[in-house]
């Protein structure tokens, strides 16, 4: 009969994985029980949105997954457009794709940096990633006015047109990105220590991933071919040629590599979108922003966020505010299998497994 020890991991500063706590029971170094504790960052987002106008909920969505504000904006705008039957301006569709893919790029490289931090290589890889991410954030700032709290999408389009020279700057970032990914891969993917820490750790079988409701890169790393950009083809994604990378065994290494591969596909989408963006208005002139009153009904708008399926479920009673405002956050739902993934692994692997899921607590706690 061996004795066990209970350890409280976290809550940590938000720059790591957020104010997330795990109560871990250890037998020696092996995890026998893991209980996630969250809610430290709860801000009542859904209830606030239900007591504000439809437009006023938009800036709050920036603060869900604060690494990727523009995809959050898009998911909410998509849900309201579905609810109110608003058409989106053609040029705005392209801007949305471009900004969403830039968001995916910067999310995935930040992920690469942070997971290295979880393995103990705090700093170097993260700073290289952040140097590159800063170029994309500069693009966001010159377009939307803010690096992270963009509040850019509007019902039926976007808030303002691209400033002069922005597309050229975006093209340069997209052109330079594969070189950076090559450098990152030279630094990381052949590294024996990294391979030893990631390969074979916490494999997730495809059927288990589907049953657990996983989505996004975590699901695809297990070998499931499911990408909402293909399956649902929201916006204008059907016009672009891109592949959906898949893993095979769903271990931490697959979850790591899938981000690198997805980033390369995002660059391909970016290049196509930048080359084919048409002129025109960036917002549907018939779409009402202030004082919008969608007809009574319900709608679920979902997109392939960088972390998985991000959905907004809205109910309108015809009033000037949502009757029900519900978010399906990919971070929270991908986190539900955490205990299952961690059982039987060593305590040092727990942080890596948590990192490989890629969560942001702003979205988990809302």
């Amino acid at each position: 009969m061996s004795s066990t020890i209970d350890i409280s991991l976290g809550p940590q500063h938000p720059s790591t994985h957020g104010v997330f706590r795990m109560n871990v029971t250890l037998d020696g170094e092996t995890v026998t029980r893991l209980q996630p504790v969250f809610g430290y960052l709860h801000r009542n987002h859904e209830k606030i949105a239900e007591s504000n106008s439809w437009l006023a909920a938009m800036p709050y969505t920036d603060r869900l997954d604060y690494i990727c504000p523009l995809t959050n904006n898009w998911a909410y705008a998509l849900a309201v457009e579905k609810l109110a039957g608003i058409e989106v301006a053609e040029r705005a569709e392209y801007i949305r794709v471009i900004t969403a893919e830039l968001t995916r790029l910067q999310n995935h490289i930040a992920f690469l940096g942070f997971i290295l931090g979880d393995m103990g290589a705090w700093g170097t890889a993260l700073m290289y990633a952040f140097r590159e991410r800063e170029k994309i954030l500069d693009l966001f700032e010159s377009l939307t006015g803010a690096r992270m709290m963009c509040n850019y999408m509007r019902f039926g389009g976007c808030r303002c047109d691209l400033p002069a020279g922005w597309l050229e700057a975006a093209r340069q970032v997209a052109d330079g990105f594969p070189a950076f990914l090559d450098e990152m891969e030279a630094l990381l993917t052949g590294n024996e220590i990294l391979l030893a820490r990631l390969q074979g750790v916490a494999p997730l079988a495809a059927d288990r991933a589907i049953n657990g409701g996983m989505s996004g890169p975590v699901l695809r790393a297990s070998g499931v071919d499911y990408d909402i950009r293909k399956a649902d083809a929201y916006g204008i994604y059907s016009r672009f040629a891109f592949r959906v990378p898949r893993g095979s065994v769903g271990d931490c290494y697959d979850r790591f590599m899938i981000r690198v591969l997805e980033a390369r596909e995002s660059v391909a989408i970016l290049k196509q979108a930048i080359a084919s963006i048409p002129d025109g208005p960036v917002v549907n002139p018939k779409a009402k922003q202030r004082g919008l009153r969608p007809p009574a009904g319900e709608a679920y708008g979902r997109i392939e966020g960088p972390k998985g399926e991000l959905g907004f479920y809205l109910i309108s009673t015809g009033g000037d505010r949502p009757y029900r405002f519900r978010i399906r956050p990919p971070s929270l739902i991908n986190l539900t299998l955490l205990e299952e993934l961690c059982l039987g692994t060593k305590i040092a692997d727990v942080m890596v497994i948590l990192g490989s899921i890629d969560i942001v607590l702003g979205e988990v706690d809302r």
Binding site: A56, S142, G190
Partner: protein, 192 residues
């Protein structure tokens, strides 16, 4: 099959290139020595709202008419407006109190979008720290009012568009008034 440790060496080569490059290569020299060096903000950059006035006198040239749309639409409710009244108690088209609590403001720019009088705009000042938690962060009318020239200097493109639109509106109004006056005159003459 690679030699054991080859991946490590390859990684070290990357860090060496970055380390040396951080002294010579422009692309790798990314640190800004704030506050000696200041970032050049893009035109669209925004921090907190301010009120625009025309001309030299802030009170007289104030564009705000205290319609309270921004106060109503502000998502975190950080704006307080009290309409001014004359001695007789008649409501005047200007605010008596206009306060923005920038500790609450989340810089979302919705007040700017909904303002029908082009009165409220986003500032770019980011050095707003204070030693007190409350009072210095509530900006009153005196602190909020800034000249149109200042607005022109921080958002040139947007300000030029606004000015062109305001000028066109003014001309349209003048033309409408002139047309009305011209219409009224013959009628007057007929009566006389």
């Amino acid at each position: 099959m690679n030699l054991p440790g080859a991946g490590l060496i390859q990684g070290l080569a990357v860090t060496a290139r970055n380390f040396v490059g951080s002294y010579f290569e422009k692309a790798r020299m990314t640190t800004e020595q704030y506050p000696e060096e200041r970032p050049k903000l893009p035109e669209n950059a925004r921090s907190f709202p301010f009120l625009v006035f025309d001309g030299d006198d802030a009170e007289a040239g104030m564009r705000c008419v205290a319609c309270k749309i921004c106060e109503k639409e502000c998502p975190p409710q950080c704006i307080l407006i009290v309409q001014d009244r004359d001695e007789a108690g008649k409501a005047l088209k200007r605010p008596k109190v206009f306060e923005i609590d920038i500790a609450v403001c989340m810089s979302c720019q919705i007040c700017v979008e909904v303002c029908p009088f082009d009165s409220i705009r986003m500032d770019q000042d980011y050095e707003l720290s204070s030693f007190d938690r409350f009072a210095p962060l509530v900006l009153d009318k005196a602190k909020l009012l800034k000249s149109n020239e200042y607005y022109q200097s921080i958002h040139p493109t947007e300000a030029a568009e606004t000015d062109a639109r305001l000028e066109a509106d003014r001309k349209k109004k003048e033309a409408a008034a002139a047309a009305k006056a011209a219409k009224a005159k013959p009628a007057e003459g007929a009566a006389g």
